[in-house]
Symmetry: C2
Subunit: 298 residues, 2 copies
């Protein structure tokens, strides 16, 4: 398995595949989404099924593009989800349609793509200038305050994704405002249980440690100064956040301060789903697609 | 009132005062604390009362330094707090003693320095390379999950501190993972109430707005892209965080990524308290002292 330390490496490896992945895009009616689709086709990342109003889709059908004529947004969401459910596409991507409408189709118990009893979560991958490898984290978008089961699922999804990206022994930091495990902060008890399960092999060859703060997770010197000895060793491949407020704060702060390139996808669903937000650049959308395709076609 | 856009400006303005503030330091028995004390004396920031074991205090008494011989840590905490309670010092600073022990003395109902019914909180001030002014935020250290009253107190302390630093009309962002006010996230209801109170003048001439995410608070372009019109306008002087996990994540992330200079102090107490942590540089300790002195002697 090739190790990918940045998005270009992921994109190049997808382009080298003999068979392209198939991505359904719901309502590609806006400039940014269409730019990402055009970029992805140009980069030989995927073939596309564009579901929406043909009058608003600036693509012609060809060997890499099919167009499904469904002008109604909700019907387009349902149709794209059905394609995923039937295994006809490997990834879903949202265009100019409300996230809530697409999520309703995804979560529909009869016709959706979230298997019963499965946790749906979100993974962000960040390429931070000056850092030697990608940093994955979760959950900045979907689960407000994870419970035990959700923390285990989040950690599992991060580890699976890291393996897909060629990280043999993923290092995952469970973050919290201190290093103490205490009933005052119930999440630290969730962390303790999770660590035990991981130490017993529940997640395979992976290092899962915490609670530790973000700096201790990412900066080898920080732990040393504090006298913290952790196998994560200031070199985390992924961070689990205690709640959505912390995850979102991290997302927005590294995007602001570090001009990081961010990619994101929903996981737990039958196929990964890319839900770009208004402010995302087309580069970020392309990287999200690449990340989702890597996981989907692994 | 002079506007201070960085720590050097604060330090220079304190040095120019005719009368020095008095700072009690509890157990200045470690190199880092003593370095900060020596730096502060050199910078003409304050005079010091060093409370602890004289054998472990590498200072001689002189016009700027008094030494109080109390080798027992808990007794030293109590004695320093008594000095603050009696108005004999303007600021407290922790040396080589457990935070919990000092807090116990501070919070003692009979002999402590937290007035009954007053919210104790923590303010961080960050000088971020490339940013045009200091950024204050709260609460990264003390209050885990603020309630309505605590959010109001936190916001008030930030505004008071900003005024001391010469900001005429402080802009405060109430941050959250989205811009929506919803009962799903009770803190957004706290924010709505607080905004109303501030709009009615409860905090004087200040702009308090939210919920908004961290990037929208700090980056003028981000709000514009999202179509968010806020009087904070991507130019926040201070950020209120929804919980300690988010506040701590921000603290550790900007310290890691931006090599920011961070200063911090406990507020709400009769005198501000500086509680440096193990990893803080002596520059950070000096800036914390300067911040606390500014507020104390205002």
């Amino acid at each position: 398995m090739q190790f990918h330390n940045d998005f270009d490496s992921i994109i190049a490896s997808l382009a080298a595949r003999s068979e392209r992945a198939r991505v359904a895009v719901v309502c590609p009616h806006d400039e940014h989404t269409c730019e990402a689709v055009a970029d992805a086709i140009k980069a030989s990342l995927a073939d596309f099924v564009l579901v929406g109003d043909p009058a608003r889709i600036p693509f012609a059908a060809d060997e890499h593009v099919s167009i499904v004529n469904i002008p109604d947004n909700d019907a387009a969401c349902a149709a794209a989800v059905a394609l995923a459910r039937e295994g006809k596409v490997d990834v879903l991507m949202k265009g100019l349609v409300n996230t809530d409408n697409l999520l309703r189709a995804i979560l529909n118990k009869e016709t959706g793509i979230l298997p019963r009893g499965t946790v749906m979560s979100h993974i962000t991958a960040a390429q931070i200038p000056g850092r030697h490898k990608l940093l994955l984290f979760s959950d900045a978008c979907v689960i407000p305050f994870p419970n035990d089961e959700q923390f285990a699922a989040i950690t599992g999804y991060l580890i699976d994704t890291l393996r897909t990206l060629g990280v043999e022994q993923p290092r995952v930091a469970l973050t919290h405002c201190t290093e103490k495990t205490s009933p005052k902060f119930p999440i630290t008890l969730s962390y303790a249980m999770l660590k035990e399960q991981c130490a017993a092999g529940a997640m395979g060859n992976a290092i899962v440690d915490g609670p530790m703060d973000v700096k201790t997770a990412l900066d080898p010197e920080s732990g040393a100064i504090k006298g913290i000895v952790s196998p994560v060793n200031g070199d985390a491949d992924a961070i689990v956040f205690p709640d959505i407020e912390a995850g979102n704060t991290f997302y927005k702060t590294i995007s602001w301060l570090a001009h990081a390139t961010m990619a994101g996808m929903i996981v737990g669903t039958q196929v990964p789903v890319v839900l770009p937000s208004r402010g995302d650049s087309s580069r970020s959308k392309l990287c999200s697609l690449a990340l989702a395709i890597s996981v989907a076609r692994h």
